[in-house]
Symmetry: D2
Subunit: 160 residues, 4 copies
Amino acid sequence: MSVDATWVAVVGPGTASGEQAAAAEAVGAGLARAGAVLVCGGRGGAMEAACRGAREAGGTTVGILPGLDRREANPYVDVAIPTGLGELRNGLVVRAADAVIAVAGEYGTLSEIGFALKTGTPVVGLGTWELARGGERDPGIVVAADPADAVDRALALARR
Amino acid sequence: MSVDATWVAVVGPGTASGEQAAAAEAVGAGLARAGAVLVCGGRGGAMEAACRGAREAGGTTVGILPGLDRREANPYVDVAIPTGLGELRNGLVVRAADAVIAVAGEYGTLSEIGFALKTGTPVVGLGTWELARGGERDPGIVVAADPADAVDRALALARR
Amino acid sequence: MSVDATWVAVVGPGTASGEQAAAAEAVGAGLARAGAVLVCGGRGGAMEAACRGAREAGGTTVGILPGLDRREANPYVDVAIPTGLGELRNGLVVRAADAVIAVAGEYGTLSEIGFALKTGTPVVGLGTWELARGGERDPGIVVAADPADAVDRALALARR
Amino acid sequence: MSVDATWVAVVGPGTASGEQAAAAEAVGAGLARAGAVLVCGGRGGAMEAACRGAREAGGTTVGILPGLDRREANPYVDVAIPTGLGELRNGLVVRAADAVIAVAGEYGTLSEIGFALKTGTPVVGLGTWELARGGERDPGIVVAADPADAVDRALALARR
């Protein structure tokens, strides 16, 4: 089943503002409606909002957890994988995905963006990090206008 | 959903004899009928047979893959997680499980048995490794009489 | 010996311009003169230049490699650890360090910066990524004026 | 320097009897005299005894640690790499080595033996696990007569 689906990682802060959570939830719902599997770090904030959106739209959600206890997953995770890898599990979230949508984001999100871009996984951003070097904006993150646009772009760019 | 279920890892050789495959398939079916999630390394042999048994009995199967391509999963894996960790992913298979059933087994299975016993995850064996030190049998692996017995024992011993 | 030393990770691009290599080499030399152990990803570019600088100043260099063959290390690595983790080894480079100096940098460097900032390891930057959110510069990376300043700041901030 | 050396992992229990510690120490000393780098899990028991033997014979010792603090290394480790991977670091100890010597051993040692044999790294045993399947002894572990013999065999079999 899920082997044939497109997998999209939703990465974002573990504590989210109302606006960030609403955006993540809309992204999750959009992915579910498109038949994509949502994979994330399995915890709270943007991850939980995205899972809730996906679940309510009938989608499948996978959480790759930093700790060793499956019960640390948010309640909208269908399949929770405890890893005991701490923040290193961020790399596994990215490796499990065909594309990444970054919603807002703290430093953990930055590590996921870097890892994805390094390994050739497309990254779509929604109110997330702005990257520059030598004063020049880096074009790696595809900037989306809104949640629906983020979903469309991620699915169009997904590596498969 | 799967967060509340018991997760049992089925570990065994990537190339299985007919008898080994039949045992693994019966184990997978038994786990599914008991409502457990089956997690494994996602490849062929005993892993594929166990997934087939679980799938045909209506269960959920998770494969944690050594490589980077979800499509290396056997066709009976519902949720395939590519890791790129090679054989190190064996440790993640064990960490994802509340108990382990070893069906037959080569050296990879041995590493999973050692990792599980080291970390306190119960191991039930079905025609698998026999461990001794100083000529004395080690009692770590609980020996099952047949697939149904292996399922019963694993569920009874599962850490939760 | 090295257990009591301060360890500083030098992260940067695997292919470096002459100016970037000169900066990395000066950073490596400065760390060695201060008695710090230099840890890096063990490959070419900024990593190799930093190791060369440290080695020529009598320091110790550790390379944590993405592949499985120790011989993929650059010739100035004293202790080469093959991991087979691919780019996930970036997280181990950071975990091995008390502070991080980022010299220039591509996306892999970005992942290391994010991972370090997420886990509370100080990051000093020399011509590296400029991070912002909502148009506002993020203060996580401590900007150094030159290689000597980068070394001084990293050693002053190192977690120990 | 160490890139050209043969690396041998010494694996064994974190708590060792006097006899086991003496064997591990002699193995460490023998490896150092032969110019090999000793890599281990960096903790106590057989690991500490092996490092002590190697250090006293002028060798180099590397410890790949389960936790995040370099200071959890035993005092005879020259180069300590904290990983935060818990028991998964056992796989990295094996990946860093050209051959493995198992001295006595608990379940963690068993996981390292399985991982090494699975990945084609020779394993020499000294009073360690005895492996069988279907009542038949498995020939994977090369049994050594004493510490000097273990060192000789490991160096002769080392993959390089």
